[in-house]
Symmetry: C2
Subunit: 469 residues, 2 copies
Amino acid sequence: MNKTDKILIIGAGLCGSLLALRLAQRGYKIELYESRPDLRTTDISAGRSINLALSDRGFKALRLCGVEEQAREICIPMYGRLMHDRAGNTFASNYSGREDEYINSISRGDLNALLLNEAEKHENVNIHFNKKCKNVDIENNTAHFKDYKTGQELSVKADVIFGTDGAGSSLRKSYYLERKFLFSYSQNYLNHGYKELEIPADKNGKHQISNQHLHIWPRGDFMLIALPNLDGSFTVTLFLSYNEGEFNFENLASEEKITQFFEQEFPDALAIIPNIKDEFINNPTGALGTVKCSPWSYQNKTILLGDSAHAIVPFYGQGMNASFEDVTVFDEILNKGLDSWESVFKTYEKARKQDTDAIADLAIDNFHEMRDHVANPIFKEKRKIEMDLEKTFPTEYFSKYSLVTFNANIGYNEAMKKGRAQDKALLNLIAGDEVHTHLNMTKDELKVILEKVKTETNNILEEDKIAGM
Amino acid sequence: MNKTDKILIIGAGLCGSLLALRLAQRGYKIELYESRPDLRTTDISAGRSINLALSDRGFKALRLCGVEEQAREICIPMYGRLMHDRAGNTFASNYSGREDEYINSISRGDLNALLLNEAEKHENVNIHFNKKCKNVDIENNTAHFKDYKTGQELSVKADVIFGTDGAGSSLRKSYYLERKFLFSYSQNYLNHGYKELEIPADKNGKHQISNQHLHIWPRGDFMLIALPNLDGSFTVTLFLSYNEGEFNFENLASEEKITQFFEQEFPDALAIIPNIKDEFINNPTGALGTVKCSPWSYQNKTILLGDSAHAIVPFYGQGMNASFEDVTVFDEILNKGLDSWESVFKTYEKARKQDTDAIADLAIDNFHEMRDHVANPIFKEKRKIEMDLEKTFPTEYFSKYSLVTFNANIGYNEAMKKGRAQDKALLNLIAGDEVHTHLNMTKDELKVILEKVKTETNNILEEDKIAGM
């Protein structure tokens, strides 16, 4: 491996463009291919502005590449969830008891444009748009593309090929179909799909509901969420079963039924989504899938990064952050000075795989938690205690959410293991009537709870260990 | 759905031939296609006799089809494991404390032949050999075959198509590639492969080592097992990493290294495997994969049964039993008198899926347990206590192994949940010095242990439940 190696990156989305930027900064020669047109000059949004939650792991990678501050300029901080019930009552639940811990709403398109601009400043980066990868001949390091504009096919040979081509990765599909090695692979869909809708800005261009929160309308079998955009609008996402329950995507087939559904379940949201019927009917229904696979790389030739290696459901707000963290970890492995791409790839996967598996599982957990548990009294009590503990003992207590979201120095896998044990400890202490809260807890009272949680968490971890789990 | 429906079954292995038999008994018209030649008239064993472990869930299905007794006649009971250490010392560990609970070694080929013979007795069954299924047009209920003898291609249209074509199922691959619906799918390989070897009969045609045991040579990173055959031989299987550890399939590339490996690790086995070098070099190395998927069926047209729906690793001895149990459960669903194949298929998957997922996970657990834990003192102590409990309280205590293997009235999923909690309880009671054993435990002493285990098991299940696990 040396700096004259020709590196082909397939996919100039968030992960691919950040990777191109970082490898360019390290001096590599990059050819970056993207199936879609240049989103900086062509509107590919189909009228919808998609936003994402950016948090500490994402920022860490952006910082590495020198673009953290630019990204922060287009962020909208969200300090907590704001829950909406059917009657329109709201209650807030902060993401952390520490004031400097919050997540951020950011436009996917704006962030992608920022990264492409930065990558393009490097003369060792060439970006090619409208080139759709059909498949990769992994034995011969050759990717086959079709140009969407001219209809022509072309082949690109490289010394190393990175597949950052997302959940539907063509490189990953080539791994599966070429059968050159035992490829462990899973794609798992939830029985829920999603549909994006919009709450527009008011006539003054302002947000119609709090722009400091991620809004949630939890309803058990389904839910609505909304994240703010810089232009005063919100991108709303409905998560709903395809075919189960009283309301689902299959049976919401008429304008009447759609209106009835929103009137009954989300009246306060309906009041500020003016084009609900058109949007519901015209916007596509997306699938919610988790992809895991291994190995990510083939010899010293190809490797998967980002969603192509580990697509996850959006319920932990970590999809983009995990993909960006891939770049951080990959960069750390490059620092080791290993002698071949194959060693780099294998060392990277060994360091990274358990963490991307963990965030995939955590995201599925949160799907259930957001739908089912936010209204459960024991879970509510737990959140309240955790906020108090984080506020009172900011260097000693970190909830699972905080470990995952705000502690980029801890891997997802460790965060999951510790966080799950801690959740279990606290929930059982509450259910067993072993901890009690009241309105104005003293520090001493909280200290007792903190120690009980710590002891019980360690017991749980120890008992699992003895059982070989 | 009615009895004049033409049913196509792809794959006449163990599951397909049992399914054909059962559906024929119910009066359906069956076309059964198999890629290989008729194993009753052509030797397809490549010189190796493969055997499997048959136990209660398998017998239950065979009983349903009226062939249990015939199967028992070709069984060799194995009452426990016989562990061999490097020095050639052995120690036995029974599968159960109840005398009537044991597993059985049976020849795959002999059992398959028995089932084909029985199916063929029904005039509503036609069996077609040498017809390899290439793919299935699932929308049009049409399977495309290639005749291995003539080289000709042929298409078969049916009212309903059952895919019992094993772990490499072509029907399942068509689900994946046709993308008519969201298909959740996983194939996961262990980093270990396997290779079959043979301990021949002695010169009198007798077994050279105990034929009442499943022999295990556990060595941590790898292991050897052996199951007896009726002809006095044993089929031996080596489980070994492809590329990790001091010895692995990649680096065992010379006769010297192979001999060195067996001399060092399995000297007592080596002494009775005369053709070790030839067999090691000439016999193929097989992969150990787990396949899960969902949905198993498409509309009222096609369904996967057996390994095609849920291939598992062999470490719980449940692969064939789980596939046979599919037929039992499917038959129970047919008894409900539902009005369409689609309802039958969906009801079947709903009833069955959690159990096939569970046995897949249990089989992976046992891979680790057999390699790592059999020599662990706490695990050994646990097995000893469990044998005492089962012997002394035969209607009250059932180990996880017993729940899975000898209790066909309990689903795999329930067996897994209860069994795992019970294991965890007992291991932690031992580690915490809360239970003690000595050579001659009295019934009263054992009763105390039994109650502790019950209480602790219930605590564990309750705590998991509160934590939403």
